[in-house]
């Protein structure tokens, strides 16, 4: 595959790994967080940990859209999916996310009309083809996917659709990062920044991280060489005593982001006063709801939504995993009670979840050298 294989060149990867090792001062240990679940997935898929020197540790962050959906919202979605005559559409990742009593896959087996779509536009098409049915799109994701939901709603409005609604669970990246950075026990040296989110929002909005919290961030692409290069850029910043926002993913990310996408979001969404995040608690101004001009498409206004807040299962430590406080394998139910096929926590469901990535790709007992 042209333009992809070039970023998977093993020879260049080894060169970068060597430069990373050379850029870290001997005796110094670096803890770097990759914010985005897409990075976590790539890191495990290409086993990049194997290439890094022992004193550079990667910590997984909160940027996995499925992982941060609280159980109450899943229950709300499942309750709506059981509505007579309603067609419930969502991305495939959502189907196995556990609610308090069942998953959407279980709801489907019980007769709910749950359909996987690959784009919100597919949901709109289903609405067009089924004029006698309500069609609901369960929207999730950070600023990466929010523009496509916004454009779909804009089109639904232009077409005068009356049977299409959206249950909006879109979240924004900056508030959870602030929450994370404000934590008194923060022990991170730098961040691998979310490339796809930055495509939309630009690199400028991450400037608070070096300015207010004194940590460097490098916005990164998702191929193995992208990630290694970003780690190298972080190590060099730390080595040279610099602390700034750098952009490794220059082939798609600009300082100001995508103005058309931002305009579509501004037209359709407004910030919710507060939103519950799985494992992170309620964070003010951290999520998007539909604004008044789009109220007729808002599933939460059209339907009776239980809106109950459900505490995470006691055994589940997704919150600590999402904050990078513990590694997936340190969770007390990891791999035994909580597995991809019978997940307790969201981090075990999504391919971008740290637990799923570690379980599916990283579960190797490596021969340990004698200490």
């Amino acid at each position: 595959m042209r333009y992809v294989d070039e970023f998977r060149d093993a020879g260049l990867g080894r060169v970068l790994a060597g430069e990373i090792a050379a850029a870290v001062e001997p005796g110094r240990r670096l803890k770097l967080m990759e914010i985005c679940g897409g990075h976590t997935h790539s890191i495990y898929k290409y086993s990049l940990d194997d290439l890094l020197p022992d004193n550079v540790e990667l910590v997984h962050g909160p940027g996995c859209p499925v992982c941060v959906i609280p159980m109450g919202r899943v229950d709300d979605g499942i309750a709506l999916a059981h509505t007579e005559g309603l067609i419930f559409t969502c991305f495939g990742d959502m189907l196995r996310v556990p609610g308090s009593e069942q998953t959407l896959l279980d709801a489907k087996a019980e007769g709910a009309d749950v359909r996987i779509v690959y784009s919100p536009l597919d949901a709109l098409r289903i609405a067009r083809e089924n004029p006698g049915h309500e069609v609901l799109f369960f929207a999730i994701g950070f600023e990466t996917t929010a523009p496509s939901t916004a454009l779909t709603l804009r089109r639904a409005k232009a077409e005068g659709m009356t049977n299409f609604t959206c249950m909006c669970n879109h979240v924004t990246i900056v508030p959870p990062l602030r929450a994370l950075l404000s934590s008194p026990d923060l022990r991170l040296d730098g961040f691998v920044g979310p490339g796809h989110v930055a495509t939309v929002v630009g690199t400028r909005c991450f400037e608070f991280i070096p300015a207010e919290y004194g940590r460097p961030i490098v916005v990164s692409g998702f191929e193995p060489l992208d990630i290694l290069q970003s780690i190298l850029m972080l190590c060099r910043q730390l080595h040279e005593g610099r602390c700034e926002v750098e952009n490794q993913y220059t082939r798609v990310v600009s300082a100001d982001g995508n103005p058309l996408a931002l305009a579509a979001m501004a037209e359709v969404f407004e910030l919710r006063p507060h939103f519950e995040w799985r494992g992170l608690g309620t964070i003010a101004h951290s999520a998007l709801g539909l604004c008044d001009a789009y109220r007729e498409f808002d599933a939460e206004r059209r339907f009776e939504v239980p809106g109950v807040s459900i505490a995470d299962p006691r055994a589940c430590q997704c919150g600590e995993v999402l904050k990078g406080v513990i590694k997936p394998w340190e969770c007390r139910v990891f791999g035994t009670a909580c597995t991809p096929e019978h997940a307790i926590g969201t981090c075990m469901v999504s391919p971008e979840g740290a637990c799923a990535a570690y379980y599916n790709y990283g579960r190797i007992r490596r021969p340990k050298e004698a200490v």
């Binding site: 495939g92 896959l105 087996a109 599916n360 579960r363 190797i364």
Partner: protein, 367 residues
């Protein structure tokens, strides 16, 4: 800092050991309802088979416990193989094939990878009220043509019609019987450390062709299903490797990854795959990349993996590559003792990772 870190490393190894023990336990079927995941060929399918069907049907020392693609039965001193396969693919026709052709090749191939050339098939049709006769006639012709190509006779069958909505056009079940070739000494237990893993050709074409045929993605690519009879390839391998050919399996639902996991588990060995050695056509790789699906998990209908003793590997590969359609056959991996039941991948990037069984279903009803 170094002392606590090495402690954490040991602790991680212990956690992983506990997980391996848990995974090695026999599967228990405790789902409240059947979901599409039970049909996907991954973990849920395995739980259904090993947790519900086998305990109910298997007799001590019987053929079912081997969980091969076909069951072996001895009759009057002749070793027979019996297999059955159902087809519910949507759409009925797709680039490179159709449900009728799949239905014949599916059972012929289950017999072939068990070392048996198919002798006879029965064909059962479940038809939906309202199905156009023209569509049915086309599939009947496809069944006849595929049977002719595979050299197998259709000796019986059954027809049922269900109300509109109770089926989706048509479903087909074929059952087949064949005589196990005297050159074949195949079983998952014969797989041994040191064996090499052969793959008969480029992967993921069938599943990708079906995905694109459904027009869900507005992707256009000329990708055709790989459906074909595997007997000529199996015949060539048996001739070249004989008893050095330890086991074969066709990589249908769940793809090459699922088949390797099944066999690693059954044989109690590990398989390490060299990701760079696995042949994937560039357009298939690109489509899979766009859809975010690993080609190793995408279904094939005309590809199989074979485990061969190392001394016979090159000879077997040469024989396989000489068969039409298998020119790109390759050695993709090796077998080791440890860690038992696991499939690992050398990423081509200097690292090694797990390649687990499929959980959930990227796409139902591909065969």
């Amino acid at each position: 800092m170094s002392a606590p870190e090495s402690f954490a490393g040991d602790r991680e190894q212990r956690v992983l050991a506990i997980i391996e023990t848990a995974r090695a336990k026999p599967a228990r079927f405790r789902d409240a309802r059947i979901t599409l995941a039970h049909g996907a060929g991954g973990k849920a399918t395995q739980t259904l088979i090993e947790g519900l069907l086998v305990p109910a049907f298997a007799r001590p020392g019987g053929a079912l416990a081997a969980l091969g693609d076909a069951g072996a039965v001895a009759a009057g001193g002749v070793a027979l193989a019996i297999s059955s396969d159902s087809f519910v693919v949507k759409p009925l026709r797709f680039p490179g094939g159709s449900i009728g052709e799949l239905a014949v090749n599916g059972t012929v191939n289950d017999l072939a990878v068990s070392g048996a050339r198919a002798l006879a098939l029965t064909v059962s049709l479940i038809l939906e009220e309202g199905l156009e006769s023209e569509v049915l006639a086309a599939e009947v012709a496809a069944i006849a043509a595929a049977a002719h190509t595979a050299g197998v006779e259709i000796v019986g069958g059954d027809t049922k019609v269900v109300e509109r909505g109770a089926a989706d056009g048509m479903y087909i079940t074929t059952s087949g019987i064949g005589v196990i070739d005297p050159r074949a000494t195949l079983s998952s237990e014969a797989i041994a450390a040191g064996d090499v893993v052969l793959l008969s050709g480029p992967i993921a074409e069938h599943g990708t062709a079906i995905m694109l045929a459904r027009n869900l993605f507005e992707l256009d690519a000329e990708i055709e299903s790989d459906t074909c009879s595997l007997w000529p390839a199996v015949d060539a391998l048996l001739g070249a490797a004989g008893p050095a050919l330890h086991c074969m399996r066709d990589a249908t639902r769940g793809g090459v990854a699922s088949v390797l996991n099944e066999l690693a588990r059954a044989a109690g060995v590990s398989v390490t795959v060299d990701a760079a050695a696995v042949p994937v056509a560039p357009n298939v790789a690109a489509a899979a990349e766009l859809l975010g699906i690993d080609p190793m998990y995408i279904a094939n209908e005309g590809r199989f993996v074979a485990f061969v003793a190392p001394a016979a590997a090159e000879r077997a590969l040469g024989a396989l590559q000489a068969v039409a359609g298998c020119e790109q056959a390759a050695i993709i991996g090796t077998v080791a003792q440890e860690p038992p039941g696991m499939v690992l991948v050398d990423t081509g990037f200097g690292g090694r990772r797990v390649m687990d069984q499929l959980v959930g279903d990227p796409l139902p009803r591909i065969c």
